[in-house]
Symmetry: C2
């Protein structure tokens, strides 16, 4: 008796559940430390000590009815001002509190944005491989997700195909940079060209096309690589940010949206997004955590930990002959499977207690995603298991 | 360029905004303490000291990656078990963790429930007066909200009209008990009769009709009145709970859904609701607050504070000749306005620095809602202002 839209999700859920149970089964037999579970993007680096400090200080100092009470649906004014100032300092932007809406993580922010913008049948473009939840989010508002196929050389967006797929019905484009699942960082050149295309198409069709920058991995960039801040390149940009990875707080559901005043329809978009935050049932981002992130906004997670994992895993796997996309951001490594059917590879890997996610879960078959937000020991020990797996394949 | 569905909300928003700004304008002129702002349901009683204690203990004792990390979308297993046990102890029910989904407040829980159940065009019945957000929530999933008109004698649901309005398209009924905005508690007799009607109609139409109990005010009941726990009366009941009022944590967005195993389609409903929690962008209820409410699940807010407000306000207003519904729950008093057009009354009240919400905002014109979750001093001082208002009206 559930809604028709939910039936597919429920049927599909059994596969995810099966993988989860397989992990538990293996852990039961071999011990959790001997299972190489690379399936989840759940940070293993603890939140900075300053987060715990901030929580203690805030509950000691702030009045309960203020700290745990309702505030404006967009969030505490001072917290929003703090986010704006931090961005301005880092990116030379000119935001203030009226450009910020605190959200229940980036997933909440994306849903708020899509609720704000999408009419049924509107098209939202994204670039494969991509986080498959985008399809569900767009579907929540009866939008149509349009995929641009992957460029399996560079894993930068295929801009020619992108341009062809923009239609008068295109309402938004979702860009995830650094990228889940590839770990690739879209370059400034890519972004400039993308903005040119969008501007041209807006004029050609007389429409507004919103560029939605989904940025939970913004702070996780390695090798000194630059992650372009998209509002500087294209006026109709909305940024969705999360502290899930930057401060290892994924369970707390805290993030924000940036809605720049440069949006031609800024006032309506900002007002509608604040209302969408309310009527979708978020109401506001969790209040204590709003105040916490304001106190530690410029703190960073221990990115060196992930970087060591990244290098060790990348070098280890390429030494074993696996073809990997060299990741420069996030905590994912995207690896080409020796056989075309990557699900077959996943099944083989399980025999060596290795759990990875098939690329078809990101609209990119023939690859697997390895989430290296695990202990360094897991990385090191897993390489022995990957060696055995490689040996079986090369046999 | 915003979505069509959002345009009405944005236009309507200016009225709410105007009221908010009027409150600030008055506070600027007369001082905040001389403005009698009864417009918001934001608890003025602080959270129990045990909440702050629990936060301190938890951040001291629990591992960061566990405390702030992802867990199952339904919430921590032990937290859900704790909620189930607390309910079982209080209501003699037989729930376990598989009947509980932790949610982003009751608003999040309602949206998860409606996403789980509603196909476009499905009808959801509720009883006027009601919290107007229900209309937005049902609209999020293209459902149709069907109102049963108010019984202005008792403010119990009009069950004859209810029975007539159930059709083969009726998928759910939302009941808010204790009620916002009336403060009335629906009696056991009402609930038994409602369950009989629903069972009869399920058989007549061969459908499942879900009774959704929205219970953010469950713990706020006065005069020793009993608030029936609906799963005991009707098998297809889903309960949405929130700690917003019971622990004065509205900003933290923490609550839960109860999905009893007695639902004929229990497995699909529970699975779909867990997935809906994820794909709507909530992902999971805030993690630290999940662990906090588990520690203090049987704590209560200082209900005596609200009770004193309730009695003083009710007696004061009736002494002045105003006709009030005697509230036995929540922290709202619903008052009949001396003139039929209650908006005229609201405008007059503003002249005496009194801010109340017109009943038409709850589909019940001719009344106003007075939220008495304010300081006792505000209640006492406001009665002088109400006296002047009464004098002007009777002049």
């Amino acid at each position: 008796m559930i809604a028709d839209k939910m039936k597919g999700f429920v049927n599909n859920n059994s596969a995810i559940r099966a993988m989860f149970e397989e992990g538990n089964r293996l852990a039961g037999i071999y011990g959790r430390e001997n299972v190489f579970d690379f399936s989840l993007g759940n940070p293993n680096v603890p939140a900075p000590a300053s987060v715990t400090e901030a929580i203690r200080e805030i509950v000691d100092e702030e009045k309960s009815t203020f700290l745990h009470g309702y505030m404006s649906n967009a969030g505490y004014e001072d917290v929003r001002e703090c986010m704006a100032k931090s961005l301005n300092k880092r990116f030379g932007t000119h935001f203030n509190s009226n450009n910020i809406i605190m959200t229940v993580g980036a997933a909440g922010g994306l849903n708020v944005t899509l609720k704000t913008l999408i009419n049924p049948g509107d098209e939202v473009i994204t670039f494969a491989p991509y986080f498959l939840e985008y399809r569900a989010y767009v579907g929540n508002y009866d939008g149509v997700l349009v995929e641009v196929s992957p460029d399996t050389d560079s894993f930068q967006p295929k801009l020619d195909e992108f341009e062809m797929k923009i239609t008068p019905k295109t309402k938004a484009v979702i860009v995830n940079n650094p990228n889940n699942p590839t770990g690739v960082v879209y370059t400034e050149e890519t972004i400039i060209r993308m903005a040119e295309i969008l501007n041209k198409k807006q004029i050609e069709f007389g429409t507004e096309i919103y560029l939605i920058a989904d940025e939970p991995y913004r702070e996780l960039a390695y090798d000194g690589v630059d992650v372009p801040f998209l509002t500087k390149y294209y006026a109709n940009t909305i940024v969705g940010y999360s502290f899930s990875k930057s401060l290892s707080l994924p369970g707390e559901r805290i993030g924000y949206l940036v809605i720049p005043s440069e949006l031609p329809d800024y006032t309506n978009v900002f007002t509608a997004a604040s209302i969408a935050n309310r009527i979708l049932g978020f109401v506001n981002a969790p209040s204590l955590m709003q105040r916490v992130v304001a106190k530690v906004v410029d703190e960073k997670t221990d990115i060196d930990y992930y970087d060591r994992n990244r290098k060790t895993l990348y070098e280890g796997l390429t030494d074993l002959g696996f073809e990997c996309i060299r990741p420069q951001g996030a905590f994912y490594l995207f690896m080409k499977t020796p056989m075309a059917n990557e699900k077959e590879f996943c099944d083989m890997a399980v025999k060596y207690n290795i759990l990875v996610v098939p690329g078809s879960s990101f609209a990119c078959p023939g690859y697997v995603r390895i989430a290296y937000c695990v202990s360094y020991e897991t990385i090191v020990n897993s390489l022995t298991a990957f060696k055995k797996l490689a040996d079986e394949i090369n046999k």
